[in-house]
Subunit: 276 residues, 2 copies
Amino acid sequence: MPCNAPIGVFDSGIGGLTVAREIMRQIPGETIIYFGDTARVPYGSKSQKTIITYSRQIVKFLQTKNVKAIVIACNTASALALETVAKEVSIPVIGVVKPGAKVASMTTKNGNVGIIGTEATINSGIYNTYIKELNPEVRVYGKACPLFVPLVEEGWLTDPVTVEVAKRYISSLLEINIDTLVLGCTHYPLIRNIIGPIVGEDVTLVNPAYETAIELKQVLMQESLENAGPAGEHKFYVSDGADKFKRFANTILPCDVVETEDVNIESFADSLLASC
Amino acid sequence: MPCNAPIGVFDSGIGGLTVAREIMRQIPGETIIYFGDTARVPYGSKSQKTIITYSRQIVKFLQTKNVKAIVIACNTASALALETVAKEVSIPVIGVVKPGAKVASMTTKNGNVGIIGTEATINSGIYNTYIKELNPEVRVYGKACPLFVPLVEEGWLTDPVTVEVAKRYISSLLEINIDTLVLGCTHYPLIRNIIGPIVGEDVTLVNPAYETAIELKQVLMQESLENAGPAGEHKFYVSDGADKFKRFANTILPCDVVETEDVNIESFADSLLASC
């Protein structure tokens, strides 16, 4: 696998752009092939079986672009599909959950960590599993926040309604006296300015996107896959609404997204084993 | 086609159950095969191309169940895909938009009709087209309400947050002095108790589900396809989360939903012409 091969990054939609942005900042020599599954967003209310099917199709698509590593820039898919798809390909596959869990376990002082995420991520209990592996003393409290993604997609990033919904969701975690809160969905950093004041200064917010870029850098070094740079042109693919995606991406990313392309993602068969 | 063949009813998810319920009430002799595309819900933010692809797959699936007619119990799919798929099959296909438009045009006295629905339905302008065909004097004002579906799915059917969001969405329509408001998404009748007090007694709410069942009855009569009854067992299929769907269906429907079944809907090819 040549070092100048691109990194595949995928998400259920636009949220993973916050992870792509961190990779561009921290590892500027790498080229990104991004896929957003905008036709089938959101993933957070779907079953594990469906998330695995969709993730397999996307991994298969990314492999046609000869990526040297894959970042699952979606908490739900990281929680429910990473383990399965990572076994089925020969390139490194990393997710956002493990890096987020790592920093949460190192950040907490009183041992009470809150996780907010989609229904699927919270119900999987995966943050609890990873954090307990690192430090069995830490207590992990999850809270599903299903309205956050639609509120972000609606663009109500500073709206009183979003503040009220956030207070409602987060109050039970504050009662438990958490000192660390993981933003366990890639959309949530976009309402960090609402969540921050609600939890107050004594609670540290953890954004897994930042830690994921660090983890990717380490994995590329270990596997001798780093690119000296400069990066090639980043490319963006979606399963629906390429123009709408492009407009949003240009408000998030430091680079100029010139073109996005629609992909018929269902045409990528639900099996990776044959091609590996 | 035998008269005791079932009626296919489909929606992006659970909302179409409000239409299935009306059919059961008004035409109790008919058997229903329901499909909810719970894996790919919501449709309201997707492109026409994608909605047509998904609708074709579902129509193809319903045809394997030998349905004698199809009801598209989803405003978005009725708005964006009905015309295309109806041409590709030889059985009657009816949607919820035309019946809703018909009653709205007959209800309004001052000629100001409001439509609330998903982004895709409102942007299609289809209610405007149909209502203008029936009465060119009527003025139609659309307002997309993208947060209503997630709020209903979250179960916040009487919540102050939902009231506040509804006030925000509907206020611009009230300023225009509408006297008729079409609930242009099958989820919205479930928050009728919130919408009603906001618009007040002078505004008539139109629920297309009711009119759609009447239209279906008429079409079956015209085509001599009515079943004398009794109805067979209604069957329910979904693309994800059969158990979750069953629990919700049992709170909506007058009959007991004993079993729901998962279907791999993507395996139904995106072409109807070959099979017809």
